[in-house]
């Protein structure tokens, strides 16, 4: 593992109790990143949605029904033990997807991807999308395409980049002004800025001054219950999707509701009650 004290680890925390499921994050993401349309968008399993909002229920009937909307961008996994071997990065045969040790961002190199789709099979979050069709936009809409993001060609995989171009622009600005680093507010993803409920908080998980760090309180030590899990949240209301697999995602979710936190992972009968109050090595302090 490359140890760089100055390395960023960009991540996100999404407050599921604030999310209304409005879909603004999805729309802003598609617009920002030049995500193309299909002629027929009714077949959802081949529609490209870098940010997808899932609808979850507690499974109870009226009047006890509860619903939660869960936005799901690429989880930017740092892999088992946080070594950068994300499920997708480690399997890509052509190094077309890579882990940025300086940012924690999982990149996708469209011009190198040859479309084998192994990364899609390896990702349990369905966060990766294949361009089954040539990219097309309604007439006139080409004029609205972002000049900072390259459109993708048919036959390659694409996914959320944490709006990496915004990071590049922020760095360029800082460099031009003779500054070393960038401010928290200078690099924010499109979905974060578009969320009307303020449910998405984005920033550097390594920087204690960033709000995302303060909410998540990531535990740098390996989880005593699972050596592959690192950066587990010390906040009892925060969880990650499929944390037990050791993917070590950088998308954290926040909810006051226990059933929502439980829905984030899979548990055997009776297991949840034993682990629900476990928050990394801090639980053993």
């Amino acid at each position: 593992m490359i140890q760089d004290k100055k390395a960023h680890k960009f991540g996100m925390v999404i407050d599921l109790d604030k999310c209304t499921g409005c879909g603004s994050c999805m729309v802003s993401c598609m617009s920002e990143n030049n995500v193309p349309f299909k002629e027929d968008e009714s077949r959802k399993k081949d529609s490209i949605t870098w940010m997808r909002v899932y609808k979850l229920t507690n499974g109870k009937s009226f009047p006890d029904t509860q619903v939660v909307y869960m936005p799901r961008p690429c989880q930017h996994c740092s892999g088992k033990g946080g070594h950068g071997h994300s499920p997708c990065v480690s399997v890509c045969p052509a190094t077309a997807t890579d882990y940025g040790y300086d940012t924690g961002i999982v990149s996708q190199i469209y011009t190198r991807c040859f479309g084998c789709r192994y990364c899609m099979g390896a990702c349990p979050y369905h966060a990766r999308y294949f361009n089954w069709w040539d990219p097309k936009w309604p007439e006139g809409m080409e004029n609205y395409l972002s000049p900072n993001v390259s459109p993708r060609m048919r036959g390659v995989v694409e996914k959320c980049s944490f709006c990496y171009h915004r990071y590049q622009l922020a760095r360029e600005k800082a460099y031009g002004e003779g500054r070393d680093g960038i401010e928290e507010s200078e690099y924010q993803t499109a979905c974060t800025t578009a969320c009307p409920a303020g449910a998405i908080v984005f920033g550097d998980l390594n920087d204690p001054s960033h709000m995302v760090h303060q909410i998540v309180k990531p535990d740098p030590h390996p989880d005593p219950m699972n050596k592959y899990v690192v950066d587990k949240s010390r906040n009892p209301k925060v969880f990650r999707l499929l944390e037990r697999l050791g993917t070590n995602t950088k998308i954290y979710y926040l909810s006051e509701r226990e059933w929502v936190r439980k829905a984030g992972d899979n548990y055997l009968d009776g297991e949840w009650d034993k682990v629900k109050n476990h928050h990394g090595s801090s639980s053993h302090e």
Binding site: Y54, F130, R244
Partner: protein, 415 residues
């Protein structure tokens, strides 16, 4: 019409009859070629694959043909390295079947990738951590080895063999074939294994993931083992089909019995390992990730426990037993049942390790995803079968594939 090309002393059907047969199968192949060009020019939207099913029918077909093509490397290993001399009577055919299987696998991969013109990136930008990179390198190299193994047989064609250079080349290549057989076995070990590793390393997919030895998950070893075990079954099955179609006995029983016996031992040892692997996965690996075994076999309309029982018991334990037992092995009917079940079993294993992996939901709020291939996928999957039939027909007609054919089919002299 083409009698000058037919091996000396061999009896073949008339050319018009042969041409009609080839034309019928050729029409099927053309259908596949049409679908292949549709996929190349219009893209993979011609398929029913989607973002849940990024790996689908083709990858199964790819893994299946490579598994059943394993008869080539394993028979070569036995013949040239372990000096099981009787197998010289079936090695040519095993190599031809292997050549067909591996060329088909490469063709399927060329159709399957979204950007076929960038296929070479897998070599140029190789990610050494990826099992698929290992597959690509070993597969390509092994196909080259198979081609080298096939060449002497081609040069033994009646007309080609009249050219002194070709005659000597074929003779000398036979002399050094042990080197290629050893190289082929080495390469096969790694590409068969890395195909298993493709699934086993997917730690985001609890249905696929396995612990293992160093960097290799157990599926790595199981895939190699199963290819060596069931590959000879496929060789025997295709030999039987060829015998039925040609109406001739082509390989002596003692050779068939020997290969069947070796296959029986391999299947039995493999299936014991597979059962241990399955139990460990179901009792330790999956539960450690929060999954009960029932999660993978219930709550959907297709994948039930039947597939596990069929793969392991009916198409694993049973053929192993039938081929180990002398009386059932030497009985043509039970032997045929065993080898057909074995071929189905290994294909089913590859199906499970590709399509069921994609189907199983992982996130607690996700649902099972089932998929039905489009006609273009079916046509391009049938294409290698048609191509295989045509190549076998041509090689059988014009090359001395079966050394025992003449002896076994002497004209009967009435007393």
């Amino acid at each position: 019409m083409d009698s000058a090309l037919i091996p000396e002393g061999a009896d073949r059907c008339s050319f018009p009859k042969f041409a009609i047969g080839i034309s019928i199968v050729g029409a099927v192949a053309l259908w596949g070629v049409y679908a292949m060009f549709l996929c190349w020019f219009k893209g993979l939207n011609q398929t029913n694959m989607n973002d849940y099913y990024g790996f689908a029918l083709w990858i199964w077909a790819d893994l299946a043909v490579i598994a059943v093509g394993g008869g080539a490397f394993f028979t070569g290993l036995l013949k040239y390295i372990f000096k099981v001399d009787e197998l010289k009577n079936i090695i040519n055919f095993a190599v031809i079947i292997g050549f067909i299987c591996y060329s088909s696998a490469l063709l399927i991969l060329a159709i399957d990738i979204g950007q076929p013109l960038r296929g070479w990136f897998i070599f140029w930008h190789a990610n050494v951590h990826s099992m698929l990179t290992e597959v690509a390198f070993c597969l390509s190299c092994y196909f080259a080895v198979l081609t080298i193994e096939f060449i002497p047989n081609i040069l033994e064609n009646r007309q080609a063999n009249k050219v002194p250079f070709f005659h000597h080349l074929a003779h000398n290549m036979h002399g050094v074939m042990a080197i290629f057989a050893a190289t082929g076995a080495f390469l096969s070990f790694f590409h068969q294994g890395s195909l298993g590793g493709v699934a086993g390393v997917m730690y985001g997919r609890p249905f696929a993931v396995r612990e293992g030895l160093l960097i290799w998950p157990w599926t790595f070893f199981l895939f190699t083992w199963s290819a060596a075990a069931f590959g000879p079954c496929f060789t025997l099955m295709v030999t039987k089909i060829t015998e039925v179609i040609t109406g001739k006995k082509l390989v002596k029983d003692n050779v068939v019995h020997l290969l069947a016996k070796i296959s029986g031992w391999m299947i039995t040892t493999y299936i014991i390992a597979k059962i241990i692997d399955t139990i460990y996965w179901a009792m330790v690996t999956a539960p450690s990730l929060g999954f009960k075994m029932s999660h993978f076999y219930t709550n959907n309309s297709f994948y039930g426990y039947w597939i596990l029982v069929t793969e392991i018991v009916i198409c694993g334990v049973l053929p192993g037993f039938l081929l180990l037992n002398k009386s059932t092995r030497e009985n043509p009917t039970t032997r045929l049942i065993a080898i057909v079940l074995g071929v189905i079993g290994v294909c089913l294993n590859r199906w499970v390790m590709v399509l069921q992996i994609m189907a199983v939901p992982v996130m607690s709020f996700d649902t099972w995803a089932l998929y039905i291939p489009s006609w273009q996928e079916v046509a391009t999957t049938v294409l290698p079968v048609a191509y295989g039939i045509i190549l076998i027909a041509i090689t059988y007609r014009y090359l001395p594939v079966f050394p025992q054919e003449r002896e076994l089919n002497q004209p009967r002299v009435d007393q």
